[in-house]
Amino acid sequence: MPPAIIHKRMAMKIINLHSLCLAAAAAWLFWNPAAKADPADASDPQVDMQIDDQPGYQPSAEEEQLAGPFERQIVFFRTTEAPGTIVVHTADRYLYLVQPNNRAIRYGIGVGRDGFQWAGIRKIIQKQEWPDWRPPPEMIQRQPYLPRFMAGGPGNPMGARALYIGGTVYRIHGTNQPQTIGHAVSSGCFRLVNADVTDLYDRVPVGTKIVVKQAADL
């Protein structure tokens, strides 16, 4: 894709907030004590990446191939959680799928912006291939011509798979913006590149326990 088109898209005033992760997010954060943001993150240079969603953009295979620490890998991981549990370290931008023998599969993730981060123990209650995307009301207000619903598929901001986190408005989902992995960019959801969220989706059944932590245990 020509760089000019990419830049044009980057400049688009099209959203930042994700469908169901959006509108209710602020309200949920307000009444759920476990969902308070960590003010220490304000000093993190990775907090609040300023990038709008890019509906329709389909990244290349090269763009989707993460390198370095955010590349999917097996790591040493000491925890009391049972194998099969998902552990998210928001501050580190990692999601771990616990494996036997003090190991875990580690995925690089994008997390909620300052004010949209949360912690708690939940369960995966639903899984969805190619989830649909609904621009939030505030986005519709800014851009009244936008469709109120965009069917899932390649180029959809919600990516290839979604795992719904019970008791919240949040999801683990894919993205068509691989460059946002490692950043605080969402409204509280956790985003993985499509290959990673598909890998996780295939490994994780409904009912899986998910532990979301603001910071890793020392």
Binding site: G56, Q143, P147, R148
Partner: protein
Amino acid sequence: MPMSLPSTRSFIIATASLFALALAGCNANQSIDAGAQQGVPATPSKIAAERLVGRWGVAAYHQDSARQRTEAEARRQCSNPYTIKAGQNGGVVMHLADQSEPQELFLKGSASGSTYLGPAGMAAVSADREIVAISDNSFTIKWVSPDNSSRYGTMVYIRCP
């Protein structure tokens, strides 16, 4: 005998097209956006603008397999409808892609039989949408610009009660 409303609309579009052609001729040395669609001469539209006026639930899809589901979703979006009003010059007041303010757009026919919706002037230009299907209670558009099309997909409008 006074012109009927459709004739008046056709006259306005034809005049606007000629004016646009004249302007283009006056600016032959002006640089042209390589990505822009140059369009084709507009002919009177076979679709009356009044058919688009109203409140619509709007949804979009990129893959034909999602069309039926998208239509159902568009119907559910009437709690947050998109309103199309009649324009003062025979068009309809709508937004162009990426424009925050609505403006009067016109239905434009073409020699191929396709109908476009966009600013007065040539048909099938980048800013236009093509109306690919229409009935009393719905219409479907595709964006002429590949960029707009990839971002917004095929959009389905279902009339709200």
